[in-house]
């Protein structure tokens, strides 16, 4: 499957609606030019996409000039040249700018007399909630606070779409907006005027690798200058409020603006679930199999040398204490994005239950049984194979079962780094507040955990010797 992906053009998108729509347009345009293209959606934030592009894990993705200038390649000189220095081509503007801005509910802003960002400084008790990326970008909150001397203390990071809903619900007073956010109109928000011109321009562009086939690059260039801010806001609104699939919204636009038809790959629900199931099973099966191969020998070693075993168990226990999200992110610099880092993280998580149960199962064998086995004149390996492992098999199997159930659950987080699986609809569903989509991932994940549990019960009957089940 990985080899097959190498042959096609891969278009990435960041984890917010507009990026997904634009990437979908790019993928459909490439397909309309007869180039096989896949859209790897919602891979993460700017930095993850940029690094993935430089490493060649994706071939193109939508970006904004301000983000490139401020965050990805800060420095002097022409932006296009700076990007070219990294082996990347930047398109001309797609036709709209999606700047950062700070927004409030109109009623609250009018009540407090806030019109510009300067006015914010007079209200230190306002509760601010910013998208996580904005919280620590160079052109984000820290610089904004310095530029306008903002005194607010109650500042927290949220996912962008959740922050908008929190603002609409009154849980926070101000948040960062993208100027093409459909919520500005829908929730009747005011955009505070940036009187000191703090935010740079954020023209939407496509970035692609220099080695992208010329035909594909030409196809992507067809989008240059073709999308107006009004059209983008409308498309964002269709996805967010009418829950139309991004692929459909993108296809409608391409048909209207460029006369491109029939390039959307829209999967029905059943096919979507089937595809996510295959991805999810791949994550779980490979990581679990690898863990089994490594953890059982480690468990045997731990039971043989109790002191070294304590150190070993401590080490694999430590891995378990790393939050799963953090572990996934640690894997990106080592293994990039996609299934590989997710499998590596799941593998590490699976070690502890298997190592511990193997060691405990072996150490729990009564001494008279060990003595008899040794006194019978069976060599060490034969004792392990014929006596000790069969006796420890119920404990080992229970460890593998625990690992499998943990794996099925944790694998849903793999979608955050582009590994697909049941986490994908959950992630999209959270972003779009679409309960149906969330359940499309959550229900199969729960069912799979139950199936895994049942499968191991059955496996127990096959693997655990009958004499131990009396």
């Amino acid at each position: 499957m990985i080899l097959a992906l190498l042959a096609v053009v891969q278009i990435g998108s960041k984890a917010f609606t507009e990026s997904v729509i634009v990437a979908e347009m790019a993928a459909q345009l490439a397909r309309s030019a007869g180039i096989e293209a896949v859209h790897r959606r919602e891979l993460g934030g700017s930095r993850i996409l940029w690094d993935a592009l430089l490493r060649g894990e994706i071939d193109a993705y939508p970006e904004y000039t301000g983000t490139i200038a401020q965050e990805l390649l800060p420095g002097q000189g022409d932006l296009r040249d700076r990007v070219a220095g990294k082996g990347v081509v930047m398109s001309r503007s797609l036709g709209f700018s999606d700047s950062y801005a700070i927004g409030m509910q109109r009623a609250a802003a009018e009540r407090l007399g806030i019109r510009t960002l300067e006015d914010l400084a007079r209200h230190p008790r306002l509760r601010l909630g910013f998208s996580n990326e904005f919280m620590d970008r160079k052109d984000g909150w820290p610089a904004l606070r310095a530029a306008y001397r903002l005194p607010q203390r109650d500042v927290r990071g949220l996912e962008h779409d959740l922050a908008l809903r929190a603002l609409a619900g009154g849980a926070i007073d101000a948040t960062d907006l993208y100027t093409t956010d459909a919520e500005i109109a829908a929730y009747d928000l005011v955009v505070l005027e940036d009187v000191r011109r703090f935010f740079p321009d954020y023209e939407a562009v496509l970035l692609w690798r220099k080695d992208l086939p010329a035909g594909a690059a030409a196809a992507l260039r067809r989008l240059e200058g073709r999308v107006s801010a009004r059209e983008m806001i409308e498309m964002n609104a269709r996805v967010k409020f009418r829950h139309d699939p991004e692929a459909v919204v993108a296809a409608d636009f391409l048909a209207g603006a460029l006369g491109v038809r029939g390039a959307a790959q829209i999967e029905g629900r059943a096919r979507r679930i089937a595809a996510r199931t295959v991805e999810h099973l791949e994550l779980v099966a490979i990581s679990l199999a690898a863990a089994l191969i490594v953890a059982v020998p480690l468990g045997i070693a731990a039971s043989r040398k109790p002191r070294a075993g304590q150190v070993l168990l401590g080490a694999v226990g430590l891995v378990q204490t790393i939050p799963s999200l953090a572990l996934l992110v640690f894997m990106i610099p080592l293994l990039g994005i996609g299934a590989r880092p997710a499998i590596a993280a799941l593998f590490l998580y699976s070690l502890l239950p298997i190592v511990r149960n193997t060691a405990a199962g072996l150490s729990g064998i009564p001494p008279e049984i060990r003595d008899s086995a040794e006194a019978l004149g069976l060599p060490r390996l034969a004792r392990l194979r014929l006596i000790e492992l069969p006796l420890a098999s119920p404990a080992i199997l229970a460890g593998v079962q625990t690992a499998a159930v943990i794996d099925v659950g944790t694998a849903t987080l793999g979608a955050l780094i582009g590994a697909g699986g049941y986490g994908q609809p959950i992630l999209t569903g959270i972003r779009l507040a679409d309960l149906g989509l969330i359940l499309e991932g959550a229900v199969p994940a729960a069912l799979l955990a139950l199936v895994a549990q049942a499968l191991f019960e059955l496996l127990g009957r096959a693997v655990v010797p009958r004499g131990l089940r009396l």
């Binding site: 008279e368 003595d371 040794e374 004149g377 069976l378 009958r466 004499g467």
Partner: protein, 237 residues
Amino acid sequence: MAHRFGRLGPLDLRVAEGETLAVLGPSGAGKTTLLRLLLGLLAPDQGTVRFRGEDVRAVDPAALRRRIGYVVQGGGLFPHLTAEGNVTLVARFLKWPQERIARRLDELLHLARLPEAALQQYPAQLSGGQAQRVGLLRALMLDPEVLLLDEPLGALDPVTRFDLQADLRTAFEQLRKTVVLVTHDLGEAAFFAHRIALLHEGRIAQEGTFEELARAPADPYVARFIHAQRAPLERLR
């Protein structure tokens, strides 16, 4: 030889070929440590263990153990194998042909008076007496030169114990093997053994036949040990 942690020795003990030696003593006297030393499960801190004159350290331990049958306290059966699986485990590991295994099993069943149906049972399904008989069969499967038994009748009820006692002695007599039997029971030692070694705090307090120990105890401890076990029966007379 001696073993520090097993609190045994130094002591010097010889077993003649074909004799049955009972190592008698209270719990904690070092009886099990002695058996473990003989099997090479423990190495002596001092001295040597010799098997037919050869220092056991010079012999492959697994090969040595196959020449010695060992019956563990309580049988020590492997719970995941049937009785037959337990008995034939090593023979199968050594790739004995099927008919040789079947033939040997037949001889042994007869000797240990075990019903054939019991062979297909798992240890958890066997009675205490049956488990002990299976343990004995397992020890005898490879026809070892020496048989070591650790409290073979220890945890059995009196009736089972009585039956098994008689069967065991018959077996020893028929097999003419060298037997070392560990027990804390004087009656048992006297019943089975040609010679008794009474162990006290890791040393041999006295060595000899039952009559010799009873008639001329070597020290006050031997006298007390023998008196303590005989007196209750004599009080009944």
